[in-house]
Symmetry: C2
Subunit: 338 residues, 2 copies
């Protein structure tokens, strides 16, 4: 029998495998104790949590807790679950507002039930998120709540701006970047920051991991805009050109509108007003993007955020070896479809 004890530096805390953290999240979600009745309130909650998703956001919370050497990973699990519950709340309500029929390849809650069920079960998911936050260690609770509440209000603001932009005649690139930052990126930042706070990170450390998350989020969204037009549909799993057909004001379209000369602008406006030939519309708008060199423009913008993200990660005052899992996850997220 080997009784030797591995010799470690005094300040070294061993890290978790990502799979072990994912298991904690899966166990935590399975263990929420969602009531059976009223069925029309809680069945949709269960449904949303069962149709899955990759659970990236709660994983970020636990990975950040691990980065800052949390002494007891159980301290961070409720916050991670709160992040996932909040994400599902926002999906249920956004899908109603956007009239989306499908989510993760399944019928959305308001389609499978109705809008009222979507509103109320969404509300309940948000309340369930706060019920998890209430389980966070008391010493961290005010900071956790502040981080979460600020994020939650910003996500609502982002969703409102996204809806406002649909009806707006002109949206600037800066306004667009602000919108995606609020609607999707601050949640990644807050998920990470909450893990850091629970691990007792310094203010500087918590801010840096937040910045890393926000910048990864913006880069990810810009990549999503690119993939809509330039991805291999077999790899990406979505129909190419959906944003073009919907006249969605993506970074690509806004940049094209900004760069186009009068003749090109007039052609582009023509295609925006035309809904007669879907595949021709996609091809013609893509051709305009190609002629203007839009893809390279967006790649450059994306790369700027990727670099800012890694600069923030590099600056975090912990051993470089602890940063490897987050760096790998970010790399995987930001290399989709390539």
């Amino acid at each position: 029998m080997d009784t030797s004890i591995p010799i470690l530096a005094a300040n070294y805390t061993s890290m978790y495998h990502t799979h072990a953290l994912q298991d904690r999240i899966a166990d935590g979600l399975a263990d929420l104790g969602i009531p059976e009745h009223p069925a029309n309130l809680y069945d949709p909650v269960r449904y949303m949590l069962q149709i899955g998703g990759k659970r990236i956001r709660p994983l970020l919370t636990l990975m950040a807790a691990d980065l800052f050497s949390i002494t007891d990973m159980w301290r961070a699990v409720p916050a991670a679950l709160a992040v996932e519950l909040f994400h599902n709340f926002s999906l249920v309500h956004d899908d109603i507002m956007d009239h989306a029929p499908l989510r993760r390849g399944h019928r959305t809650v308001h389609e499978k039930w109705d809008s009222n069920v979507g509103i109320l079960s969404g509300d309940n998911l948000l309340i369930m998120a706060y019920a998890q936050l209430a389980k966070c260690p008391t010493d961290c609770l005010p900071a956790i709540l502040d981080t979460f509440n600020t994020m939650a209000a910003q996500v609502c603001e982002g969703q409102q701006l996204d809806m406002d932009f649909e009806r707006a005649t002109a949206v600037s690139i800066d306004e667009y970047l602000r919108m995606i930052r609020l609607k999707t990126s601050v949640l990644l930042g807050a998920a990470l920051k909450m893990g850091a706070l629970l691990a007792g990170a310094t203010d500087t450390g918590a801010q840096l991991i937040y910045d890393f998350g926000v910048d990864v989020g913006i880069a990810f969204q810009l990549q999503d805009d690119i993939l809509d037009v330039y991805a291999d549909p077999k790899q990406f799993g979505k129909q190419r050109g959906g944003d073009i057909l919907a006249n969605k004001k993506t970074y690509l379209l806004l940049k094209a509108l900004e760069m186009a000369d009068t003749a090109t602008r007039s052609k582009l406006d023509g295609w925006l007003a035309d809904h007669s030939e879907p595949s021709e519309k996609i091809n013609r708008v893509t051709a305009i993007y190609d002629a203007l060199g839009i893809r390279a423009e967006v790649e450059t913008a994306k790369q700027r955020y990727v670099e800012r993200a890694y600069t923030a990660l590099d600056a975090i005052p912990v051993d470089i070896s602890r940063k490897a899992p987050l760096r790998e996850l970010a790399h995987a997220l930001l290399s989709r479809g390539q």
Copy 2:
């Protein structure tokens, strides 16, 4: 100059005038610092808070804090504001679900804007409620969050049951009482309990004031059911018989269905299916209620809850003089239209 100091018992803490507490709530609401942009998110929030309401629920929080001799009333103001913000969140979302055109005599948010604006600004009101809770003193925060989260989930359950009952063929009196308890009464109980917790009340004291609030709430709702049919419209300010026209499953209708013999039941069912003559429907259903003695039945049920409420209040281990303001408020609420 009179320099005499009033001689008080050592353990006596002077009480606040109700008006002084109401002023704190008004100041707190005026001071929320609601952002200007995005206007479609925050204008409806401001609108809901400006069209008023009597602010009974936040007043209950401060009155309970006063009952238990809170040392610094400012400790309780954020929780009181959270209660009012939560109440407004639930009104905005319920009004969408119930297709209500008016609230407090003004157009509802989803009517004045649209459903999407109602969903998202409602979400924001809920998040704003939690932002206030985060300001509660840290030593009370876990208990406050538990009380609030339990209440919030129950209010959603109550709203779901209310919607389920609209489509249900048979609803028992017990199911109805459970629904109104969840939908409207636990908020009064929780509002009071939060004030008690912030004042350092014992578990017993906090539970008793909670029970008082819940029973006052149920009695109030039963009174509301009575007033729909039997109030003087000039005093009540609502059209008489609205519940009858909507076939609303109130305590009156459920009791009538329970008590009616076969012939009466058949007449009642006939009127429920008839929408041709509004005023005749109201008069005929009222006549059935009168013949069955329904009003007295509901008054008796109401009185049972009123008595239970005062029994709980009486049992609270503080000086009887401190209970006078809450007793007066409950009396005023439970004597409307009489």
